[in-house]
Amino acid sequence: MSSKTVNPMMQSAAWRISLWATLAFAVGTILVFGMLHRFVANDIQRRSDAWLSGEVGVLGDVAERTPKDRLYSRVVREVAELASREVPNKQQGSGTENDAVFFLQAGADGTLKLWAGRGDGSAQLAAIRSTKVVLDSPYDLSVKGFRIPFRVAAVRMKDGTSIYLGLSEKDEIRVLRNLRSRFLALWLLIVLLGFSIVFYATRRMLGHVRRITEAASRIGQSDLSSRVPTSNRNDEVGHLGRTLNRMLDRIENSMHQLHTITDSLAHDLRSPLTAIRGQLEIALTAGVKGEQIEPIVSAMDEVDRLTEFLNTSLDVAEAKADALRISPAEVDIEDLVRVMIDLYEPCLAEKGISVQMRSSGPVKVMADAALLHRVIANLLDNEVKHLPAGCMVALGLGSSDGFARLVVEDNGPGFGEDLGHHMFEQRARGKESKGHGLGLAFVAAVVRAHGGEVSAGNRPQGGAILSLTLPLATQTKAEAPASLAVVNG
């Protein structure tokens, strides 16, 4: 009912479970990929370093053995360009333009002696000279004018010159970028797939739980015969359903026992009561005269009172155990109250009590009409018995927040101090009261069995006030078909 503002799917546990599971899965795969990425990057680095070291060694050898004549620079450059064709991780068909590799020979004084590669090599030389170089292992070199750093291996010649072989890291970076973008696409796909699988599975599982909850909430006070749906599977949800059903079996059993006890008690007492009343009645109609009438009539009155007491106390006992038998139907409580006021008005008027009713139109509730009749009759009986002449009774009927609300007020003496909070308890009655003390207990029991509330007290300006609420028919409509089906069955 409160989910109007929040999407119900967002409230579902399935949503939360799948969200957390997906998050954990996503983080886990990212971590695994991170490690994989590192491993691949290291491996590529290692391979290009090995190539660089090998080539720079070869070039050093060539440079050493080639006679230092006019051909020297041509031979060495030729060899260097040959070497650059075998670059590892090279992108296929990148053209003849070779900007991935440079070869550089620097003199002992730091001047450029030989250069192979794109450009004139001065930027590379400047970068090399400004870097502190450890000769044995390749290192990273950022060159001005090139976005991507070079990996450089160096070898020092006997004549004091140094040979440098540089390899651009762009191929390595491209390979890793490819790897990352492919992984990201795959990762997104897997995470989405995983999320939908987890969401679907938990939703299905929780759907069973939800159906059990719905069925269990329909099993109300008036309907104990239906059961929650169970599946044949031997999992937790199946267990939950079966356990609930076993519990319902036990509840229905004890409820049934209570009904049997109260019914047989009522039955055992009622047949003799019928016989007694019948004999008295026959004696009365057989032409008893004068003084003999009065004792017979009062004996009949006592039998009637005893019967009513028996009925009501059994009703209250059942209602206290939440076992009151209710056959609900849509009832216009306004109409019902008006009929009862019609019935009681002459009796109240005879005692000098006036009665009025305030209402804003029909109020439909889902209730047992026969029980409601008795509730209203009890309340009005109370007023007849306890109000002194000249008082006024006001009944107000309205509805708010899905509940019908009936308020009965009077300006009489109000509830006695001695009654306090016990007025809805069985046998509670004021000192002056002649009743058997079941009236208000019955009212409270019936109202609560219908899912309503009842409260009573004294008004600040004097007199008693009693109010009761009953759920409106429209609200219980969703549950009505289930209980009606049971009634009809």
Partner: protein
């Protein structure tokens, strides 16, 4: 008028036999469902009285079984149960009636008469009714006594109408509550008596013979002769 009383309690049997006989019924007795079924099949009864608490089966099952075998006479259901079974409500809608124990014998007799009349479909749709010098006009919803129009509230007219339709017979308080106000409550107070008292004040005015008679402990009778 042949009547079958299906009841296992001896007290109720002895209580009902005499007044039923006096009311003109030929009473047959059955103490359990089996006997009742065979008796009902053998003799065509005009009316059945069935107690719900039979030793061998549930009274409702018996009634449904009889209905299935083609017995259509009206049934008066007696119940000592406190709550009215929904199946009983179903039967009530189907034209049968029920009484919860303890009941007044007069009420049982009155309801039996109603049942028989209902099924024999005697024309009740007369627009006027005359009992002694009391006249009722059901179309204008007006009543007059000895030619003087009575100033009745709609409620009082309905009450008088019910008494007139049962003129000469006992009407109990619970019958009036059920038929006039549509409720089966048993008030702690004398609400019905006050209504009758008011009605009597308007009908049995000074100098006229009282028409509504109170039978103490039983109910009321509207005199028709």
């Amino acid at each position: 008028m042949k009547l079958l009383l299906v009841e296992d309690e001896v007290e109720i049997q002895t209580l009902l036999k005499k007044p039923l006989g006096e009311a003109g019924y030929t009473v047959h007795l059955a103490e359990d469902g089996r006997t009742a079924a065979s008796l009902a099949a053998a003799n065509g009864y005009d009316i059945l009285i069935v107690d719900l608490g039979l030793p061998d089966q549930d009274g409702i099952d018996l009634i449904l079984q009889l209905r299935k075998s083609g017995i259509t006479c009206p049934v008066m259901i007696l119940s000592a149960r406190r709550s009215v079974d929904d199946r009983v409500k179903g039967l009530e809608q189907g034209g049968d009636d029920y009484l919860t124990k303890p009941f007044a014998v007069a009420e049982l007799l009155a309801r039996l008469r109603n049942l028989v009349r209902r099924t024999s479909a005697a024309g009740e749709d007369a627009t006027r009714l005359r009992i002694l010098d009391l006249e009722l006009d059901f179309i204008k919803r007006r009543a007059a006594r000895g030619g003087d129009v009575l100033n009745l509230s709609p409620q009082e007219f309905v009450l008088l109408e019910y008494l007139c339709r049962h003129a000469g017979r006992v009407v109990t308080r619970s019958m009036l509550l059920a038929e006039v106000w549509g409720t089966r409550i048993q008030p702690d107070t004398n609400v019905v008596d006050v209504h009758i008292y008011r009605l009597r004040g308007k009908i049995d005015t000074a100098g006229r013979e009282p028409l509504i008679k109170t039978l103490r402990g039983v109910g009321y009778v509207l005199k028709d002769r």
